[in-house]
Symmetry: C2
Subunit: 694 residues, 2 copies
């Protein structure tokens, strides 16, 4: 419960001073400027008064209860004052002071120390190295933060890992006259966590939209859990930055090298229905719409305009953002036909032309709102000097207040018509400067609409032989290593994942016996722990058509890899299938990530792969497959038959089951898997599995 943090009944400021440039002074001023609804106690052992407030030498001298303290004194003095706060029964301490974990080993030690002190007294630490919190709730009105953007009530709550980014988000809401509900930039996250804060916002009835800025997910599993709980009720908009600074974790397999921090964040967002944005501006623009507009039930948008060109831009942008242009019902067309001027165009976009007044423009919007073929409205409105623009705005405002479909608007105007913007915004219809923005916002809202409407996923559990797989795996337990391919194949078979017919041999004289079980043409592959990319080093010979060629290939390879003392895999050579790649990667504290892509160049060069988190539902698996750019290849091009997509879905789910069952599997690569049309089985041709030691 973070009530005493976000709704403190009283605040003490340790480090308050009369120096207007000090953090303590600024926090005091911010609390005052925003009419904090409780008592404020400046703490300063040297001054008797801070501004007009009686100052106390220590929190222990305060005669009343203290919920929250703000601390901005020297880092080394923090432990001492925290002891006093603890004794006083303070509930939360916002530590603004820097010089902790972020400066290295010594700082980390100090940070651990202060958390320990706090917990001893049942107190919580917010920070250190943190900006603070805000809550615009008129019953509280707390601005316990040293930043400068003025606060006014609203329903958007913000939590930002970076204070600079948080400030930017607040600033742009402020500039368009939009309030916020709560704000928080939590610094080093030593105790009170981002996830707790999101959870708190999720439970706050007056928060309608949550904006999150993330640099690193400290507790991905906790985030997933909280987000899963919150997103069905209200949208979480996320900006994840630091996309390029986090280097690729150098691991050997394809799956490993592609699944980076970025990917984990992405699969968590997808799994939990968090809307990811890639710029601050896009996130702010969307938040404004979410804050007042209903969520669209579908993706059919209608554009209404009184000027041609910007509507064309709206069309371009809606289409490229994945929306569809609604087809007006014949009834709507009839109504509009009677309503608008002769020069107007009753189509989509509906161009009511610049001479349209309140009756034409407003009436058109009213008629469109009633059309069952329409899910959302994008208005373009230029204040033509020769019509009653305020009248139009007033009409739109009235309509906006009552609408159960989202309406967004681009207004082209200057300060002379400020009332136009005010009237429209007052109704809850967001006003943007550009048609492009309005279109992107509708696309984000439509995406969230899909999230809230998605059915309970269907999780299939296949009959598998877990204990046999376990016994194969157990042979290799104890250290981090890749296990031999024939064992990987055995494990796959236990989970009902078909593999190509294969035999393992160690010496040339085993060839004779091995080929009894196989049909030409064959493939010969080297199999050794130390050889990861076999093809590159000449460790694969394909399309071997007879015994003589096989013997020659074996001799050559045995000579080549003499030093590695390898085994060899002999398997049937398949032709004509489509190469796909499936992968999995363990995530500490989370379910594993699954990967799907087309093999070869598609995964290596074009990085055309999809990731989702286990357990995979049927919907997840289908979406993964459909979302790759090269999906058409699987559907069959130039008269080819489609591959059996249902088989691929099944194998993905079986793989998800396998890696979920065995947390010791660090990563797996089924590469390639040959997918064929329905009449022929999809089979794994090569596979690698790395386990982690106990």
């Amino acid at each position: 419960m973070l009530d005493a943090l976000f709704k403190p009944k009283s605040v003490a400021i340790i480090g308050a001073s009369n120096n207007p440039l000090s953090i303590g002074h600024i926090v005091l001023q911010n609390l005052l400027d925003h009419n904090f609804k409780g008592p404020i106690y400046p703490i300063n052992p040297k001054s008797k008064y801070i501004k007009s407030f009686r100052a106390y030498p220590s929190v222990t001298d305060i005669p009343d209860e203290v919920d929250l303290v703000n601390i901005s004194i020297k880092n080394t003095l923090v432990p001492l004052v925290l002891e006093e706060c603890g004794k006083k029964g303070v509930k939360f301490a916002i530590v603004h002071t820097a010089g902790f974990k972020e400066v290295g080993e010594e700082g980390l030690k100090l940070e651990k120390q202060i958390v320990k002190i706090a917990h001893k007294y049942g107190m919580r630490i917010y920070g250190p190295n943190s900006q603070g919190i805000q809550n615009s709730d008129p019953e509280v009105s707390v601005y316990a933060n040293f930043t400068f953007v003025p606060m006014s009530p609203g329903n958007i709550s913000i939590v930002a890992q970076s204070g600079g980014v948080g400030e930017t988000l607040k600033l742009h809401l402020y500039r368009i006259g939009k309030g916020i509900r709560m704000y928080s930039s939590f610094g080093n996250e030593a105790d009170v966590s981002m996830n707790e804060i999101i959870d708190y916002y999720g439970q706050d009835e007056d928060t309608k939209v949550i904006m999150v800025h993330i640099e690193t997910l400290k507790d991905p599993a906790g985030f997933l859990e909280v987000a899963n709980r919150v997103t069905p009720k209200k949208p979480i908009l996320a900006l994840k930055t630091g996309k390029t600074s986090e280097g690729t974790k150098a691991v050997a397999s394809h799956t490993g090298s592609l699944i980076e921090q970025e990917t984990i964040a992405d699969v968590i967002f997808k799994k939990s229905g968090v809307l990811r944005f890639h710029s601050q501006e896009d996130m702010i623009d969307a938040a404004v719409a979410f804050s007042n507009q209903p969520v669209p039930k579908g993706d059919r948008v209608v554009i209404v305009t009184n000027t041609g060109g910007p509507a064309i831009i709206a069309v371009d942008e809606c289409i490229s953002a994945g929306l569809k242009l609604a087809e007006l019902s014949s009834q709507t067309k009839e109504i509009l036909g009677k309503l608008v001027f002769q020069e107007a165009i009753v189509s989509n976009p509906v161009d009511v032309v610049a001479t349209a007044g309140p009756e034409q423009y407003g009436g058109t919007v009213e008629a469109l709102l009633k059309d069952p073929n329409i899910d959302s409205l994008l208005l373009v409105f230029v204040t033509a000097p020769f019509v009653d623009c305020e009248g139009i705005a007033r009409k739109l405002g009235e309509i906006g207040k009552a609408s159960d479909k989202p309406i967004v608007c681009q207004v082209i105007t200057i300060e002379k018509w400020a009332e136009v913007i005010r009237l429209i915004r007052e109704s809850g219809i967001p006003v943007y400067d550009f048609a492009e923005t309005a279109a992107r916002v509708l696309s984000a809202m439509t995406e969230y609409g899909k999230i809230t409407q998605r059915k309970a996923p269907s999780f299939k559990k296949f009959e598998i032989d877990k204990s046999k797989a376990e016994s194969v795996l157990s042979r290799h337990k104890g250290k981090d290593k890749f296990i031999p391919q024939d064992d990987v194949f055995k494990i796959l078979q236990c989970y009902g994942i078909p593999t190509v017919t294969t035999t393992r041999i160690d010496k040339e004289d085993e060839l004779e016996k091995a080929i009894q079980k196989l049909k030409y043409p064959l493939v010969l592959k080297v199999d050794a722990e130390s050889i990861i990319h076999k093809t590159e080093v000449g460790g694969v010979a394909v399309n071997i058509k007879d015994k003589a060629s096989l013997q020659a290939a074996f001799k050559k390879m045995a000579r080549k890899f003499e030093k590695q003392k390898p085994g060899f895999i002999l398997q049937e050579y398949l032709e004509g299938g489509k190469e796909v790649i499936l992968g999995a990667k363990r995530n500490e504290g989370l379910q594993p990530t699954l990967m799907f892509g087309l093999g070869g160049i598609f995964v290596e060069t074009l990085k055309d792969v999809q990731f989702r988190m286990a357990p995979l539902s049927e919907e997840d698996a289908l979406e993964m497959i459909r979302s790759i750019k090269g999906y058409a290849i699987l559907e069959g091009t130039r008269g080819e038959k489609a591959v059996d997509i249902n088989r691929l879905i099944e194998i993905l789910i079986r793989l998800s089951q396998l890696v979920s069952d065995f947390p010791e599997i660090d990563e797996m690569d089924l590469n390639p898997v040959f997918a064929f049309e329905k009449s022929k089985e999809t089979v794994v041709v090569d596979a690698r599995l790395k386990i982690v030691g106990a």
Copy 2:
């Protein structure tokens, strides 16, 4: 010469009235409000005075010379007044009036009529259905336009096909206090053309940046010519909208179907060095920087910040926009080490920390400007309440005025520090709301830097046998058709483009003779004008290994296509090459467009193709090849050797030469072309050529 349009010595307003909602009144008011530097003559046969001006019944009644008239009377009355204007010796007539070409056949007739009248008198028509023009030159100060965004002097000139888009562009410059030079939204373009206007802006010494909004290029060749002339001197920023409304032209070949209107605009922009933007906001943001900042000499950017998070966003965005983070010289590091606070981070981004004052922040920027490893600077500046923010701004302003490297800035602040923004902007450093914007702007400037620095292209002319190719082509002249493959191959050979060894046969008994010249394995293909996509209809048999299989394949195919009475192509079957596709498409009035891409799925599904306009320079051809997403495939993956890129460049240039030599070639497809490593020749395996009738 458009001087009398953009610098009129006098303006008459036909349709001026005392009704403040009339176009004529608004134009009059706009001229007055902006202190037009010449006489204004309202024309109105019914009123003696319009505002305080003496009105004239007709232009012919005006006692003095008239350069420009603005006409906003009923469309059917326009011809009559134009006759009068012509007699009076008016030089330009801005026709605001709508109801011309845009309303259909009748309107088009009227439009042609008014142009004819004008030309009879040596007068030019601007419009009709046009907004008007503006010129902020203090010597002229003409606002002959009925829009509302106030005008102030600047060096950005705008020409917009859509008035609504033009108004949006003006509006956002106005909002940040940025003036414009000239403005123009030209309506139906019946006479004065967009290209003339761009040319005029190009010649105007006080225009430093040109912004263009295009929906359709009426005269692409003219645009190319003008743009080629202008872009070496000043940047042309273009927004081309209507990307989705223009349907794909349904033509049979791959090349044809991919080369749409959009592509033509794109190749023209590329050829002439026009910078294309995909949103109004991006274009405006860039224009602001171009207007005052020097063009960067390279792509190495340094980020300076006093707050961490936004700088991380700047890094993400710079990298994804193709910029490089500069590596500071050791000398710079040494200087900064002494200058900044201990907590500061001397790296890239340089984090001077929030406590940095003018000396630290300003000094850092000064030192970085001197570093030869740095081409451009991106500053992030939050007005921390505890430092001298105005001092920092003043310092940055001083530095900005003298800098020969571009500096762009994100400032996080509120109105309290309005002076900070004013001081920075005054120096010419653009101030943006978001780090993302600043990064994108630098990327656009860097792109223009490359354009201005590009060397004269090297055009190679190969020795070819044009007359022989001509004689082959001439056999098919006279109608629109695809010519037989063996003739296409002959033409390619004339231009030194290697083709696979091929024989054409018509009857089964010719097989015997044909195979004498060929080596197995073979490919048998049907060859008939009516069969475009042979593979899909079973018209191709590959990898035929012996005579028996060949005869069987022939019988089957002959039976299958009996009705079409086809010929057959027998050619050697190649294995192991990389499939690429080359194409060309004729452009009416322009040089043809060339296409390059990887074959198969890459062209069909991923649309991974590049287009450039003939004639191709070596640089063009290399850039085309390198720009495809699947380029790594040509470079060789997993230990394969690279294909011979120089051979591909040569074939592209030879194809460019071929289609440039024969304007009757409507489209060509070399698909597939098999590219091999250096030791083996790259050859065309299949090709189609469509000619247009005389």
